[in-house]
Amino acid sequence: MFDSRGAFNIAGGTAPGDVGASWYPFWTATIMGIAAVFVGYTAMVTPQPKEGVFQTRQSVTSVLKLVIPMFLYAASFAWLGFYIATAVYMAFFAWYLGRYKAVGVLLAGLVTPLAVYLLFEVAFRLILPKSIFYTMGFPF
């Protein structure tokens, strides 16, 4: 953890003349703090747009539509493994945002994991996480 005492001691390190481990992070953080005060001041004295950061309500939801599935997708790796999670994720978007028919949804869900498998595991031998069913003899 950070020890702020060392930050003020110019000879805080082990070698003579060394400033030690906490000196550098302390002063960079201080500089960041000072910069933040400037940014805050500038933001206060310049007029801000009335509607706030997001132009419309729709722009907030369009971002959330991406963020929430992304969280679930990454969180499901531990159980579903990369391939099943990706198949579900791609198919979900094809159905939810693309409004595709069953064939399109199925294709989107199958082609991506297959392509990734061929490129990463077969061609470049990069191993991706497998599902909990993998130990039961499931292929992915």
Binding site: T14, G17, P25, T28, M32, T42, V67
Partner: protein, 518 residues
């Protein structure tokens, strides 16, 4: 001359079938990445870093670190060319550096009905610009590296400081925001073991953080996921124009004629772009705006700009591509990245076990000259591909949003996971994706954060080595003429925003911020 011998050796390396194959793969991927609006060159290079590791390791017959760098740099060249295609045809910039092509490229294609001429003009000037920059690269790089070999820790630290102050003084819309981003990058780089004393710091007791926060997952998050989220918001706001184009020989001839009458503009812009691109943090994006400004300023027909004037395409393209090439010069010679994309390539060098900097020219001659030769070849290849494959590349834009967006998220996550097989890296990618999105919205520059993150460790190491050598005396940074000069230059750069502000106050004119880097 020694340079020609070295370059010939470089061509011998770059022309090996395996290297040519990966160069072709790189530029093709780069073109595709350049065309896709949600995926930029920086994140594209970062996502493919794990593959470059496999290539560098020599798992593939005949491939080595030179092959790996040729692949990554090739993506950059492809993206530099490819971004303009969608700017010109669809009025949607594929890359930040092709925004400026909306001013004259799209009008020439749409209003004057000459999409073929607009595209070929852009490709021709990109090629000439990049070629001039590569020639300058060939002759300057060795000279810079030879000087840099004489640098001790104080000089190196001064170079790092200079690169940071350039980002503050020349690049940023808001200098305070640039300072904050620099400091954040340096802090993030400081997480984990302190390299000199071995003490743990800033890891909040977490063992997984002891290895530090990885540069690659953070960059993929900031540039890959961050960009996707930012473009999600624009969905439905913008509308897409569709112009189809097939390039004919007549278009090429017309573009070459146009080039002949503008050769002075293109050459001078390319040279300016080179020296601009060498400055740390100033990649192709800022250069493209500079190039447009220069083209307009020295044109006799200023009123034609914005209506489809060819100089408004050739000027910025020559400057942007030249700056893109030049941004590799300080990375290779000094270990200071010239742009966020070259920062990612530099991170690649670290991962492959190479130390970017002047020693490369001595210890890894094959690598350096192979890379330089591949820049010539890469641009030639990209140029030919562009002339042939525009309809195909434009068709990529028809891939629907519901497919391309989750796909980019997927490959971003694979990219960050497979470098270290680490789920923590995936978590960092997502967290920094949200951070990157928010920083974009709040108009914070991302270049200082990325450059500081990749340079953080070396900066601290050189600072402390200097202080140990000087027995703790800060006077060590003024002990040699070169270090003193660099420090004074840094101080001047820091004062620049203040001078600009004061001058604006006195004349009452609004402060004109320069465009931010890519």
């Amino acid at each position: 001359m020694e340079v020609f011998g070295n370059l010939a050796g470089g061509f011998a390396t770059a022309l090996q079938p395996i290297n040519l194959a990966f160069l072709l793969l790189g530029v093709t991927l780069g073109l595709v990445i350049g065309v896709l609006p949600g995926l930029g060159g920086t994140s594209g290079v970062a996502i493919l870093l794990p593959i470059s590791v496999v290539v560098a390791r020599g798992d593939i017959q005949g491939a080595n670190t030179t092959t790996a760098v040729i692949l990554l740099a090739g993506i950059y060249w492809g993206a530099l060319f490819g971004g303009v295609i969608t700017s010109i045809l669809f009025n949607i910039p594929g890359e930040p550096w092709s925004v400026v092509l909306l001013f004259d490229g799209f009008p020439l294609a749409k209003r004057r009905g000459k999409p073929g001429l607009a595209l070929t003009s852009s490709f021709v000037s990109s090629f000439v610009g990049a070629f001039i920059a590569t020639v300058l690269f060939t002759f300057f790089a060795q000279a810079i590296a030879e000087q840099a070999l004489k640098f001790g820790p104080p000089e190196l630290f001064a170079v790092f400081v200079l690169s940071f102050t350039t980002l503050i003084g020349l690049g940023a819309e808001s200098p305070a925001k640039a300072v904050a981003m620099l400091a954040l990058g340096l802090l993030l780089a400081g997480v984990g073991f302190d390299t000199l004393t071995g003490q743990q710091r800033l890891n909040f007791g977490n063992i997984n953080l002891l290895a530090g926060i990885g540069f690659v997952p953070v960059t993929i998050g900031l540039f890959g996921i961050g960009e996707i989220l930012a473009s999600a918001e624009e969905q439905g706001i913008g509308y897409m124009e569709k112009i189809s184009a097939r390039l004919g020989f007549a278009d090429l001839l017309e573009a070459l004629r146009a080039l002949r009458s503008r050769i002075r503009l293109v050459v001078s812009n390319a040279v300016i772009g080179f020296f601009f691109g060498v400055l740390p943090g100033h990649g192709a994006t800022a250069a493209s705006f500079l190039g447009y400004g220069l083209a307009r300023q020295y044109a006799k027909n200023k009123e034609d700009f914005g209506k489809g004037e060819i100089s408004g395409i050739m000027g910025p393209q020559a400057t942007a591509d030249s700056a893109g090439v030049a941004s590799l010069v300080p990375m290779i010679t000094l270990g200071v990245p010239g742009s966020p994309t070259s920062a990612v390539i530099m991170a690649g060098l670290f991962v492959w076990g190479l130390q970017p900097g002047p020693l490369l020219f001595i210890q890894h001659q094959d690598f350096v000259w192979g890379l330089i030769a591949s820049i010539y070849l890469g641009h030639l290849l990209t140029f030919i591909l562009c002339l042939m494959a525009v309809p195909l590349l434009a068709a990529i834009m028809r891939v629907p949003y519901a497919i391309i967006t989750p796909f980019i998220v997927t490959i971003s996550i694979i990219g960050s996971y497979s470098l270290n097989n680490s789920m923590l890296d995936v978590a960092f990618t997502i967290i920094f994706g949200l951070v990157g999105y928010w920083l974009r919205k709040m108009k914070y520059p991302l270049a200082p954060l990325v450059v500081a993150l990749v340079l953080g460790d070396s900066t601290e190491r050189e600072l402390r080595k200097s202080l140990i050598a000087g027995q703790g005396d800060f006077g060590i940074f003024f002990s040699s003429p070169l270090a003193t000069l660099l420090m004074i230059a840094s101080a001047i750069l820091l004062l620049l925003p203040l001078v600009r502000l004061l001058r604006a106050r006195m004349t009452g004119a609004p402060v004109q911020p320069p465009p931010t880097a890519d």
